[in-house]
Symmetry: C2
Subunit: 245 residues, 2 copies
């Protein structure tokens, strides 16, 4: 049991993290109640929010605590009136399902936005190749709008490690400015689970990925150097899944 | 002429703004040299960056100033070693061209990312319906990676004002969760310039837009409430322009 005085602002080294705001906290309570330590709510929260949080807490025997001082210490924005305190969790990825693979992602906002898009388009498995941003950073959770709690994720020390464990019976699609084929201009193999692979924000994927599966590019004008990472991933995920929704 | 001591951190009320970082400053110098007041460069800048900036400044008779103290006062991140100082500019939008219309956008990062995607996919005209974020906020410029300097933009006090001036001979596509047709599942009118219309991050477009042109939705799973605004706009822009690139 984590005491109130032990709780500090988020630190990667701790085994617990926070949801900030009502919406991500609902997602936490609905999808990962077994990981929740407690919920903090501010005395100024509306009755509507209080009642909804209270119901979810009671259902799962989770303590709901009104403690303005502690909440104000932990939160990152003054407008935040609900904080979920939860234990970080490990996942197993599903072998037969579609994956997104992020190689060395460095931006918390991009990672959260990509998770939200994955969940929105039915991809529930995310592989992350280190070095990489911390998936439990509250900024990731916030950008994901709590969709992180629908996701199976796993960190790997190299792409080769991922490919060894999960690469069999799967179509790999690295996205690169030099990609051999244009996204949308070739037929997808509908019988094969796919992995959509994206590189770091600044450097992209290195040339070794030209030999991995079928490399793809998202063609654009030469007025920009590249698309934003979360945009490129979102467009690719949309194109691969649009017939399912 | 703006004196060094008059220069303050960015303020919406001033008639000048800043590019932070080498890349957006190259874009400024290459595309809007007539608006540049001066360039500040840090004494620690690499020779490569200094030489490139110097060449662009000399070509356009723009003062290049080494002033670490001033630059450190203005910049928002310690890693920034180049600051462009430029006068805000007004634009006219092109009547016969494709437009993106943002109704009440409230997030600087989203606006910048959407501008980058627009320019990447050949849309050079952006209408912004007030109240809205300030397009010259340096955070917008940074998220746009300087592609703002390729753009024609215009603010309007209402959507009706935009439609009155620019609505003739144009296909309007408001994007809404309740959109009547699914993006990608209906044939686009290739002979008609289009306007892709997106609402505010939190509230979307109100129901009155169901009567504007052809409302569209980007179908996704019910595990998320909605896509991130810049993702929704990026996917829509990609789908409407993918045959051109």
């Amino acid at each position: 049991m984590l005491s109130n005085k032990d709780m500090k602002r988020y630190n990667k080294k701790n085994d617990y993290s926070y949801t900030f705001g009502a919406f991500p906290t609902y997602e936490l309570l609905e999808n990962r109640p077994e990981n929740v330590e407690k919920i903090l709510i501010h005395s100024t929260a509306s009755k509507e929010i209080y009642d909804k949080i209270k119901l979810l807490c009671d259902k799962n025997d989770i303590p709901l605590v009104i403690n303005d001082k502690l909440l104000e210490k932990l939160r990152e924005k003054d407008s935040c009136i609900v904080v979920g305190v939860f234990h970080k969790f490990q996942c197993e990825m599903e072998k037969g399902e579609n994956h997104v693979v992020l190689v060395n992602p460095s931006d918390t906002g991009n990672m959260g936005t990509i998770i939200r898009t994955c969940i929105g388009f039915g991809i529930r498995n995310l592989a992350i190749i280190e070095p990489a941003v911390d998936i439990f950073n509250p900024k990731v959770i916030r950008a994901s709008m709590g969709s992180l709690f629908h996701l199976n994720y796993k960190y790997f020390s190299s792409f080769e490690e991922y490919a060894t464990v999960y690469g069999a019976d799967r179509c790999m699609y690295p996205f690169m400015l030099k990609g051999a084929k244009k996204l949308g201009a070739f037929p997808l193999d509908r019988d094969c689970a796919f992995s959509l692979i994206f590189g770091n924000e600044a450097t992209g994927l290195d040339d070794s990925f030209l030999k991995v599966g079928q490399s793809l590019r998202i063609s654009h004008s030469d007025a920009i150097d590249s698309l934003n990472l979360s945009l490129a991933a979102g467009i690719a995920i949309y194109e691969f899944t649009k017939n399912y929704f």
